[in-house]
């Protein structure tokens, strides 16, 4: 593993640093609390809709449709979680490389026998494991609901797979932003900027000449999440979730190369 030299050590340190950081704990608390509130209110809403649907079926016979409540809850909850992640990921990623530059610890990495790919990979993995840890309780909410709701587990499992892939893409993009900034706050806000561009890029698609429309829709992150959400894994979406992070990891790698060649001046 010469190519990723140093990656494992950096990954472990990064992960460890989240668990001693007050910011990370605050983020965990807020995220889990918000997810819990969203889940309960979504569940309450669809349960009520479900009861209404039951009543209509009993009243009008076959003209009413039974609601698949767990599927509805899963769909809404996954949508909300995806949106919340867009605000969480830049905070998780903001300090990954910018803080190393500001604190001067980049010098330690640069003067150690560690490759740029190792630095990039270590940072990405550390933050990604933390993100997956954050997503565990929301996953359990769904799991418990489906367990008692004797629903098929397939839909929400693919939904969470979609969330995991999407957050990897968001993380790669914001890691790159962190690699070109020297200030956490700037990094976080620029990260929001980049993610929002890729979230809303398909909004004006209808206004564009038709040959560009497909391309612009393809670039949008949430477009590719949609299929996972309804239990479909398509090659087109997988393709996107491989190439999108790969592109930003490549940019991060290039930024690290540039730091090595130009030399950071620690303040």
């Amino acid at each position: 593993m010469r190519f990723l030299r140093g990656g494992w050590a950096i990954c472990k340190r990064e992960l460890h640093s989240y668990f001693v950081s007050p910011v990370a704990y605050a983020l965990l608390a807020i995220f889990w609390l918000a997810e819990g509130i969203f889940f309960v209110s979504i569940l309450g809403y669809w349960a009520a809709q479900g009861r209404n649907a039951d009543a209509r079926v009993q009243e009008f016979g076959a003209e009413g449709n039974l609601l698949n409540v767990p599927a509805m809850v899963a769909g809404s909850f996954l949508d909300v979680t995806a949106l919340v992640l867009m605000f969480v990921v830049p905070i998780i990623a903001m300090g990954l490389l910018s803080e190393e530059k500001r604190r001067g610890t980049m010098d330690l990495l640069l003067t150690s026998p560690v490759s740029n790919a190792g630095i990039m990979w270590g940072k990405f993995c550390g933050a990604y494991v933390f993100l997956l840890f954050m997503l565990t309780p929301p996953f359990l909410f769904q799991f418990v609901m489906d367990f008692y709701g004797d629903n098929e587990f397939g839909t929400f499992v693919t939904g969470f797979l979609g969330l995991a892939l999407m957050s990897a893409s968001m993380l790669a993009a914001t890691l790159w932003v962190s690699s070109i900034t020297k200030n956490q706050v700037v990094s976080a806000f620029a990260g929001y900027g980049v993610l929002m561009v890729f979230w809303f890029i398909d909004a004006p698609a209808n206004l564009l000449p038709s040959i560009y429309q497909d391309g612009v829709r393809w670039l949008s992150i949430h477009n590719h999440f949609g299929d996972f959400r309804v239990g479909v894994i398509s090659g087109r979406d997988l393709n996107y979730f491989v190439w999108f992070p790969a592109f930003f990891l490549f940019l991060t790698y290039t930024a690290l190369e540039s730091i090595r060649w130009r030399g950071v001046r620690s303040s």
């Binding site: 050590a9 472990k12 604190r103 010098d107």
Partner: protein, 322 residues
């Protein structure tokens, strides 16, 4: 151990290092000396492999920093001006991380960490978070981090800057201890600092080497001889006639009257001569009273100012000629 030849580093059009050459033998303790912004840190960073030079050669133990960075990095321990510490980590786990990062084999890690802790007198603080440590302790953690993988060469950038006098003495002692096993290059802009720790000085100014020699040799070459101050009671005019005529005295001035009829005279001796016995005998024989006499060697401080002034004057002259 170090071979640097015509090293150049440019940031845009501005040359931070402009043709620096010097060598350091294994086991030597060498100081890089120069005002802030002279190019010391840049030179050191190039030697650690933290960044490549624009031009020229930098080799550590025969390995080029650009061609064989991994061979260089495994041989160099580096303490930057700001010690590279993760404030939230505890000292011991930070050092464990560095050991892994530096590629210390797993079975040696524990022993290396403990030995670095004990060599830098950090055992008592080993389980404290770094952010809670004083500046002096942080500097020691920085040193521990640098010696962790037992490098042949230690590069320490301003290791005592910002410390209080007691911490300076401790760190200086620590460097002296480490010097036995390692080649050490350290930098400073505080001149008295460096003379206490090093055998040889490379003076850098505006990206160029202006002098490289042992401290003694530098003071001999640039400082001329000793400066002797005598205090004498007697007639000033007679003194003024007598003192410059003494053999071995290059220059003599009566500076001030300390009290009534006691004069302080500054003498410059010719190089390599101790004029004190001669001056004492002459003063007493001539019927003056000798009140006091002190000798001081020219310090690095003055040599340094002289060297950098010379360079600046040359530059000014060139500017005017152009």
């Amino acid at each position: 151990m170090i071979h640097v030849e015509n090293l150049v580093k440019r940031y845009g059009s501005n040359a931070a290092v402009d043709g620096v050459s010097f060598d350091v033998a294994a086991g030597e303790v060498v100081g890089l000396l120069g005002p802030n912004g002279a190019g010391k840190s840049t030179t050191m960073r190039i030697l650690t492999g933290a960044m490549p030079p624009t031009d020229g050669i930098a080799e550590v133990a025969g390995h080029d920093v650009v061609e064989a960075p991994l061979d260089v990095k495994s041989r160099v321990g580096y303490l930057p001006e700001v010690p590279p510490l993760y404030p939230e980590m505890k000292v011991r786990s930070f050092l464990k991380f560095v050991a892994e990062l530096k590629g210390v084999p797993r079975r040696d890690r524990k022993a290396r960490v403990e030995s670095a802790l004990s060599r830098c007198w950090l055992e008592e603080r080993a389980d404290q978070p770094i952010e809670q440590l004083s500046k002096g302790y942080k500097q020691r953690v920085g040193l521990a981090q640098a010696i962790l993988h037992d490098p042949e060469l230690l590069i320490l950038d301003e290791p005592t800057s910002g410390l209080d006098p007691r911490q300076i003495i401790e760190v200086r002692q620590l460097i002296r201890d480490l010097a036995g096993d390692h080649t050490v290059v350290l930098s400073s802009h505080i001149l008295s600092e460096i003379s206490a720790s090093v055998q040889r000085v490379v003076v850098i100014n505006e990206g160029k080497v202006v002098a490289a020699d042992s401290v003694d040799e530098l003071s001999r070459r640039f400082g001329g001889g000793d400066q002797v101050t005598v205090q004498v009671r007697g007639d000033a005019d007679a003194l003024r006639r007598m003192l410059p005529s003494l053999p071995g005295v290059a220059d003599a001035r009566i500076v001030e009257d300390v009290e009534s009829d006691v004069w302080r005279c500054d003498l410059s001796a010719a190089p390599d001569t101790d004029v004190r016995p001669r001056v004492a005998a002459a003063v007493v024989n001539a019927g003056f009273e000798l009140i006091g006499m002190t000798r001081r060697e020219m310090g690095l401080e003055e040599i340094f100012l002289r060297l950098t002034d010379e360079v600046n004057q040359d530059a000014d002259a060139e500017d005017q000629a152009a």
